[in-house]
Amino acid sequence: MFSRVTHEDWTNIVPMIAFGVMFTVFLVTTIRALRLKPEERERLATMPLNEDSDR
């Protein structure tokens, strides 16, 4: 058991996969966020403030 934990080579692979998957998610969401139309972005950002009923 102990030898398994100290010598296995999965430590080399797991970080690569983890980083790769995360980098992809970051990249895709960042691209999407950047491509959002400015007027749409503005409208969405001010949604909580556009409520007539508020005092």
């Binding site: 398994r4 010598h7 296995e8 999965w10 969401t29």
Partner: protein, 858 residues
């Protein structure tokens, strides 16, 4: 998307009654939960707080060294459940109902469902407040509630989900604001986590065993436990932040783009981080790595969200001086940043080696719970109260006082827990000058942090005082106004403006199809045996090439897909579910396949006898796991302190807890680890009818084995006295006394159904009828009781009993069953795997270099 000026309009009256109800419930339950927390904190400093203090309060009318429903082991689950599900749960529902109606520009879909949701949730909380102190528990942290309540929780959650999604379906605003995204993620993910972690088979109306055991149970539990923090205590509050903070500051969120990145990266990463609760344990290394890495990556989205929140206050910082709402929000978001910095830090294996099982974790949790949840709740309550009762906040000064008292309370609490945790962690690992023995006993390390424990209680008391002031302020505000439901005239958008995407369009399109197939191929690369994994990798690369070419050809389709997603709640929900389900499946599915007795290396747990199983259920019922772990980590200080000196590699192995339903690895050591407490079946010297020892030809006494009774590292009398008065056997211990165990009868009758369920969930008990089970249990109980009676133990409540009469009395009592269990903990038999190094599909830990192919057994 805008609606035309000539569009038809309608007048909406919001259901603010439900918001008021949830808010009031949150404040009341918050005070209850925090009060129980303060009591629990004092119990760690003064053992008398486990019931003995009632002697003084009642001038001697109540006499007991401990009272069952007041012990730390039973009250601590009540505290955590009350704060998480009652305080934050009700606060979350108030915020979600208020903001969803306004962001959707429509009334909540069904008043009836809102009522069922509110009263159902409060009934669940009351049920928990009754069942937990009387010892009815599943024995898993934050998942202690018994199975009938679990079903009620699931049903009420579904009611909430129906009401929420129905409201989305009826909305008059086509776009989904980012707060709604966080609510959707909360509802979907909590349902998934709760159902999977609560899968159990009942043995009676109040008891069940989880279907997962050992490593599987540990992994599923902390997948749930970590994500309860993520999706119950974080994502809904982030949604609340994105709605209420712009309103309080009267300016839009700093960066809507950042909120998009914040949402998707947080939802995707959080679900993978659960294994960081099991670092350095017998959890496979690849899962530990996965948990640690994804935890570290959480820094990015968490701090993105924190900065987005704080920068929303740009230009409004002057309000900090005058507006208590902004004060609470700014401090709450700062605590979010601090605790989400600390969380990944504690997930680094080297840091975790010091911090885990100590009060550092407690400090971390409370910086999030008190600072983030508590302060965001207070800010929201102070913002909502004047609007819900159409008046002014009764006292801004009192709200400011709440803020400062609460802030000092949190800082005192967190700082003392950091100090206590780091100090105890260092002391536990300190060796003497020769470097061969440990310098401090466990009790000495506990006594060294008593000052910090007292300061923690005081900090908690201050925070509670702040919330009592809040309750008074909200009450006076409500009394000064009248309950009010907002009305608004809204334009009704054309049906075609929203929710036009079908499920087919959601899943079968370029971006989703390429992403899902890509993730599937990467998973196959990860899990498949050599050569097959390379094929998966090549296919992944080819898919990337194809995706790039498709994007060049039909790039606009990819853009349109995401745009449409923002106006279609159901496809959005499906994709959120896919994102969180992938993370869960990658962790849990391989462990389900690997965690089998044929796969264990070296050690396989011995089955509990019926009496030991009864004792284990008492151990779980008393909440002993709240203070005692059963996991010797692969760390030198752990092995030096808890492992046997004459056994090589004596850390806890995966197979030693394979049949534990539920697992009892623990998460905090207020007392020492128990993994090596048990021992083999004992033996005794044979005597003739005159009581003389029979000797063999060499003059050595002839020995005979007991049938079932085991002897661990301490004898039965030690354990008997320890449960009667822990300070008699361990000077300076803060453990409660358990006098009721000496009077309460063991539940022998239920053992038949319990063992039947154990067989169903995979524990290889032989077929036994109820008489056999009862006989085995009774024989073992009598062996232990005789042993105790022969040692002339004292039983204060039955002083007239001695000898056989005492043994007969004790054999039926819970104390004997509990001793039977404690003497069994950690017992295993050694096994040799037929082919231990054979590579197996879906078992990454089976890939190892040939030269390390030893079994690791002693």
């Amino acid at each position: 998307m805008t609606t035309s000026a000539t569009a038809p309009t309608t007048t909406i009256t919001y259901d603010d009654k439900s918001v008021r109800q949830f808010m009031i419930a949150s404040i009341i339950w918050g005070i209850v939960g925090m009060l129980v927390g303060v009591i629990c904190a004092t119990q760690l400093s003064w053992w008398q707080m486990n019931g003995k203090f009632l002697e003084a309060l009642t001038f001697g009318a109540i006499k007991a060294d401990g009272i069952s429903f007041l012990t730390f082991g039973r009250l601590r689950p009540l505290h955590t459940n009350a704060v998480i599900f009652a305080f934050v749960g009700n606060m979350m529902f108030a915020g979600v109902y208020y903001s969803t109606q306004r962001l959707c520009k429509c009334r909540t879909a069904s008043d009836l469902l809102s009522k069922i949701h509110f009263w159902g949730w409060q009934t669940i909380i009351v049920s928990a407040a009754v069942t937990l102190p009387i010892g009815l528990t599943r024995g898993k942290e934050y998942a202690e509630l018994i199975w009938p309540i679990n079903i009620a929780v699931a049903l009420i959650w579904v009611i909430f989900a129906i009401n929420f999604f129905w409201t989305l379906a009826k909305r008059n605003e086509p776009s989904l604001y980012v707060a709604l995204w966080f609510y959707i993620a909360t509802i979907v993910t909590v349902a998934m986590l709760y159902i999977v972690n609560h899968l159990s088979i009942p043995t009676s109306f109040t008891h069940s065993y989880p279907i997962f055991g050992g490593l599987q149970d540990a992994l599923v539990q902390w997948w749930y436990g970590h994500n309860a923090v993520a999706f119950f205590l974080t994502t809904p509050i982030l949604g609340i932040m994105y709605y209420f903070l712009p309103k309080a500051a009267n300016r839009p969120v700093y960066s809507y783009r950042l909120s998009i990145i914040h949402f998707w990266s947080l939802v995707f990463i959080y679900i993978w981080a659960g294994p960081h609760h099991l670092l350095n344990t017998s959890l496979p290394r690849w899962l530990q790595m996965l948990g640690m890495l994804f935890s570290l990556m959480l820094w990015a989205p968490s701090w993105g969200g924190m900065l987005n929140g704080l920068l929303t206050l740009r230009g409004a910082w002057a309000k900090l001086r005058t507006d208590p709402v902004i004060k609470f929000f700014a401090a709450g978001i700062t605590f979010y940043g601090m605790s989400t910095f600390e969380g990944p830090l504690l997930s680094i294996r080297a840091v975790n080696a010091l911090s885990h099982y100590t009060d550092w974790t407690i400090g971390h949790v409370h910086s999030g719970a008190l600072g983030w949840n508590g302060f965001m709740a207070a800010g929201m309550f102070y913002w909502l109260a004047p609007r819900l009762w159409k008046t002014k906040l009764y006292s801004v000064a009192a709200a400011n006082m709440h803020f400062w008292i609460g802030l000092v309370g949190i800082l005192l609490y967190v700082a003392s827990m950091w100090t206590a945790g780091i100090m105890q962690g260092l002391m536990l690992g300190q060796v003497d000058t020769g470097g061969t023995t440990l310098k401090y006993t466990f009790v000495e390390t506990l006594q060294a942090i008593q000052i910090e424990y007292i300061l923690r209680s005081f900090g908690g008391l201050l925070f509670l005082t702040g919330f009592i002031i809040c309750a008074w302020n909200v009450w006076k505000t409500a009394r000064s106004g009248a309950a009010h439901n907002d009305s608004i005239e809204v334009a009704v958008p054309p049906k075609a403006a929203r929710d036009t995407m079908t499920l087919r369009e959601t899943l079968i399109n370029d971006p989703v199809a390429h992403t899902l197939i890509g993730i599937a191929l990467l998973c196959l690369w990860f899990f498949l045996p050599p050569h097959a994994d390379k094929v998966a990798l090549v296919l992944s690369a080819l898919l990337v090439v194809k995706a790039v070419r498709t994007f060049h050809r039909r790039g606009s389709v990819w853009n349109e897909f995401h745009e449409k997603l923002l106006h279609n709640y159901m496809p959005f929900t499906v994709l959120v579910f896919v994102a969180v389900a992938i993370g869960g499946a990658v962790q849990i599915v391989p462990s389900l396949i690997v965690n089998r007795d044929k796969n264990v290396e070296g050690r396989l747990q011995e089955l509990y006898t019926p009496l030991e199983l009864a004792g284990r259920d008492i151990f779980v019922s008393e909440g002993c796991y709240n203070c005692h772990s059963q996991m010797i980590r692969m760390l030198k200080p752990d092995v030096m302190r808890y492992a046997r000196a004459d056994v090589a590699d004596d850390f806890s192995h995966l197979g030693e807890s394979l049949y534990d339903h539920p697992f009892q690895w623990g998460s905090k050591r207020t007392g020492p680890d128990l993994a090596r407490e048990g021992g083999p079946i004992g033996s005794y010297e044979k005597t003739d009818e005159n009581g003389n020892v029979i000797k063999d030809a060499l003059g050595n006494p002839e020995m005979e084995s007991y049938k079932y009774m085991r002897f661990g590292i301490r004898d039965n009398v030690w354990h008997y006295n320890h449960f009667m008065n822990p300070r008699q056997t361990s000077e300076g211990s803060n453990m409660p006394a358990y006098p009721w165990l000496f009077d309460k009868k063991t539940d022998f009758k239920s053992l038949t159904s319990k063992i039947a369920v154990q067989r169903k969930i995979g524990v290889p008990y032989p077929a036994m009828n109820q008489h056999e089970i009862n006989d085995i249990a009774r024989v073992q109980a009598r062996e232990i009781a005789d042993n105790l009676a022969n040692a002339q133990v004292v039983l204060p409540s039955q002083q007239e009993h001695s000898g056989n009469a005492l043994a007969q009395y004790l054999a039926d009592r819970e104390i004997v069953a509990l001793i039977a269990y404690v003497q069994k903990i950690g017992a295993y038999r050694e096994v040799e795997s037929e082919n231990p190094r054979e590579t197996r599909p879906l078992d990454p830990d089976s890939y190892r270099p040939k030269e390390t192919a030893s079994t690791g057994t002693k």
